[in-house]
Symmetry: C2
Subunit: 221 residues, 2 copies
């Protein structure tokens, strides 16, 4: 089955069409296939990804030393998308109001997590590839955390917080948001009505509750 030959410099059809012996960008295609696999709820197997790329079961191992490495690459791609969406949200948030930014961050985080549950799972669990397979992912995540720390520090500086224990607030905030995302992921929201938006609205409410809890009460309220 060696391939059919010249004529196409890069077969653009991935759907079982004339593909040259060399694939073009198999690595990329494998990652995409794995992402799609995950999104479909199927478990990601190297062989299935290879199948979808119309390639032999051994081929992926030319691009990834093992399954973990593939999963780490998949996680990297998912994390990139996740982070991009968060940064968009932050750019649209008011620059001067730390708590509003905190809120926007949490909302963007949860929206993405709820709309891409399988990808969020891969990113966040660290159970899909050997711990430390992706230093990039770890660093990336640390930067997001640093972002929230800065927002809280700004809020404290402006006298917006009731407590001075920023570390505690930060961990509680992370736990709240992460917990909400994972509850959604792990099936702890039992068909909350058929309506989809309901979970997102509840996410918003929960974030607001948290912020109200840590914010210094103003005279007016």
């Amino acid at each position: 089955m060696p391939a059919r030959q010249p004529s196409k410099p890069r077969a653009r059809r991935q759907t079982s069409e004339a593909r040259p012996y060399h694939h073009g960008d198999l690595r990329r295609v494998l990652i995409d296939a794995a992402l799609q696999l995950a999104a479909e709820g199927a478990e990601v197997s190297v062989r299935e990804a290879a199948r979808r790329a119309a390639v032999s079961p051994g081929a992926p191992f030319r691009h990834f030393p093992n399954r973990d490495a593939l999963m780490a690459a998949v996680a990297g791609e998912a994390q990139r998308r996740f982070r991009a969406e968060i940064e968009v949200a932050l750019n649209q948030a008011p620059a001067a109001d730390p708590l509003a930014r905190f809120r926007a961050f949490g909302l963007a985080y949860l929206r993405w997590a709820m709309r891409n549950p399988a990808h969020f799972e891969i990113i966040s669990t660290g159970r899909y590839f050997a711990h430390g397979s992706s230093a990039e992912l770890t660093r990336d995540n640390a930067e997001l955390i640093a972002l929230t720390e800065r927002m809280l520090a700004d809020a404290a500086e402006q006298g917006l917080l009731r407590s001075a224990d920023l570390k505690r607030i930060q961990i509680a905030g992370r736990a709240l948001v992460y917990g909400f995302a994972r509850m959604n992921l792990d099936g702890h929201f039992p068909r909350w009505g058929v309506e989809e938006g309901e979970t997102e609205r509840m996410a918003e409410g929960v974030i607001d509750l948290f912020i109200a809890g840590i914010a210094k009460p103003t005279r007016g309220a």
Copy 2:
């Protein structure tokens, strides 16, 4: 179970010693082996459980129709232990102070989750066996949730809460505690010092922060 009585009430040697053809209580032994497997961080396979029970690879399927059923049984056992510990804690908490009970609940929850991470994972993720394999687990969990709802309702009745949106508070509380447990599970607490108790102390702080956030501020504070 009836077990065998003559000579040995229960063959205590699991290590490849004279074992009668019929095992005694293979079902139980398999569940225990699987629990131990999980606790060791290994992934639970039917074959390995069978191996530890010194039994053929097919034997477990006489007691469980498939792997999912074994995992569901394992989850059931873990859940029983989890719940028992929570109930002990609640029995020691002051009966009249709903928020104190809420706090005790959260603390017991987190302590167990942090000391039995693998078992907590199996209980809470619903990723280890087909959704609905264990109605018992679902019901059990619903009862725990109902417990927290009652505590919050009591607190509201005594005028202890700032907000009347109990559902929101309850979900936020669950998300907070669940999120903290999962952060610990998923490696989001990067070696917080070598000290073990630190995470538990932080758990306490986070719970207190949450309660302070939802509690109606008293004049004195």
